[in-house]
């Protein structure tokens, strides 16, 4: 998926989706959030992230399920009594619901990440928050450098006769301690040079020019309009009390059949569709000129 959106659009999307998700436990809101995030991630062929989200959420869901089975007796629908302890359908459903909520939140973060263009983000943030941008830029540049330096130093030490393999753990720790201390010192020395270089180039002396000024386009308008519509419908549901939900007290069950929820889910799907349309690659037009 080629990212065509302005840098602020995914930020607004993430904030509004997290507001929806964390303001209620309503199953339709959780389903809507999952629908939105999964459609966008699947549309962008982010299969790895979809799998990674499951890896995060499954152990937590299992823990919550176990916790609710052992310690929670609230609920009306009794499934069994084990050692005098009531196991209720509500406690199981709630554990599952909370697991899905965590999965939805994780997917929403992944979605925002997949919609953000790194270069555009740097360019935009560089003009607004120059110090923070420089910090993050340096970190990203330094991470591969650390890996390289570490192996380089290890080679140097090994050539000098320091043993890293086939030695007792104590010796191994000693050897690695020396390498890590040198790595830290060397990196800090180069950080000094980077700082000096940035200073002599006049960094932070004036307002930095923006190399690639990105302006909102119809794509951002489309996504933000769909998002605003979804938010408006949700706020109406929240105000009339349809969004309150508590399975243990049976709260919100009678309003599950409210047709407005169908509209809400449709709007979630529409928003996902709008994001995919907005991120569609622009058709390249070739201008043909004829020599006369």
């Amino acid at each position: 998926m080629k990212i065509q959106l302005h840098i602020l659009t995914p930020v607004f999307l993430l904030v509004s989706s997290l507001f929806l998700l964390f303001s209620t436990d309503h199953p339709f809101v959780i389903c809507g959030s999952i629908l939105l995030a999964v459609t966008v991630l699947a549309g962008g062929k982010k299969w790895k992230q979809l799998k990674q989200g499951l890896w995060f959420a499954l152990p937590m869901t299992f823990f919550m399920l176990l916790f609710n089975l052992v310690f929670v007796s609230s609920g009306v629908t009794e499934l069994a009594v084990v050692f005098g302890k009531r196991i209720t359908l509500e406690s199981i459903l709630y554990a599952f619901l909370m697991g899905v909520k965590l999965l939805a939140a994780t997917y929403l973060f992944f979605m925002a990440g997949s919609l953000t263009n790194g270069d555009k983000a740097v360019s935009y943030c560089g003009s607004k928050l120059p110090k923070s941008t420089l910090t993050f830029l340096l970190i990203f540049r330094l991470i591969p450098h650390f890996r390289e330096s570490f192996f380089h130093l290890k080679d140097v030490y090994a050539t000098r006769g320091v043993e890293f393999e086939n030695v007792p753990l104590r010796e191994k720790i000693k050897s690695y301690r020396a390498v890590l201390a040198v790595l830290l010192e060397q990196s800090l020395e180069s950080s000094f040079e980077i700082g000096e270089a940035a200073y002599t180039r006049g960094f932070l002396s004036t307002k930095r020019s923006v190399y690639e000024r990105s302006r909102p386009t119809w794509r951002d308008g489309l996504v933000l309009t769909a998002d605003a519509l979804l938010l408006a419908v949700y706020i109406l549901l929240l105000v009339n009390g349809s969004a309150s939900f508590n399975l243990y007290f049976g709260e919100g069950l009678e309003r599950l059949s409210n047709p407005a929820w169908i509209l809400f889910l449709l709007l979630c799907a529409t928003l996902a569709g709008c994001i995919l349309i907005a991120n569609r690659k622009q058709r390249e037009t070739t201008e043909v000129t004829w020599d006369t």
């Binding site: 964390f22 910090t135 201390a181 800090l188 000094f192």
Partner: protein
């Protein structure tokens, strides 16, 4: 400003926790705490922008953050051994409260790019930032604790980190919220917190002396004293 941020964050967190007594407010708490955390983090970065921190200090903070983030990624296969706690605490102690806070925040954010971003990211940024800040306040007068004392402090910080993360988990995902359930969340995480604490203690014993010397040397190199040349040069 820093004190205002800490006090505001602490008051907001404790105040929100009090709201839990009324369980219908649990969702509101999740939202409010997220907003408060985002606000605290945004304020600290805005403070960073407005501060007199120059390019050299920025490069130093970035290098230490990258080092810390890489160490977390390297140790990721070992369950809950988090070198970030030790390194952030050390940076705070050697460089001061605000650089410590920044190193904790940024390394959590950057390492999560590799390990996975999620709703836990702002909480981790805040928790590790807080560790750097506390340690910075501890070493503000140039105090250098012994390796054992620093190791024990790291044990405390590891538990603090675990407790803050438990707070997030219990409040956001525990339904129905009960104080017993809240307590049990802390009990079940005890093993992981212990592993985190043991790892941090071991790292402190092994690396504290050597790393502190290095960081302290670079801290001294950052300090610039301007000599007033207009004064008469007596005795020359």
């Amino acid at each position: 400003m820093k004190r205002v941020i800490i006090t505001a964050a602490a008051v907001a967190l404790v105040g929100s926790l009090m709201l839990l007594a009324v369980s219908e407010w649990q969702n509101a708490f999740t939202l409010v705490s997220l907003v408060v955390l985002a606000g605290v983090l945004a304020l600290s970065f805005l403070y960073f922008e407005a501060s007199i921190i120059g390019t050299k200090q920025i490069a130093l903070i970035a290098t230490l953050s990258a080092f810390t983030a890489v160490s977390r990624i390297v140790f990721a296969p070992i369950p809950n051994v988090q070198p970030v706690t030790f390194l952030t605490a050390l940076c705070g102690l050697a460089l001061g409260p605000f650089p410590g806070f920044l190193v904790g925040c940024t390394s959590a954010f950057v390492s999560n790019i590799f390990l996975g971003q999620g709703p836990w990211t702002p909480w981790q940024m805040f928790s590790w930032g807080l560790i750097g800040l506390f340690c910075g306040l501890w070493g503000k007068n140039g105090k250098k604790p012994s390796p054992v004392a620093f190791g024990l402090a790291c044990v405390g910080f590891s538990f603090l980190f675990g407790w803050i993360m438990n707070l997030w988990q219990a409040v956001a995902y525990l339904r129905p919220f009960t104080w017993l359930g809240f307590l049990l969340t802390y009990v079940t995480s005890l093993l992981f917190d212990l592993m985190h604490a043991a790892g941090s203690f071991l790292l402190a014993i092994l690396f504290y002396e050597k790393f502190y010397k290095i960081l302290h040397r670079y801290k001294r190199r950052m300090d610039v004293t301007y000599i007033d040349t207009s004064l008469p040069k007596e005795g020359l």
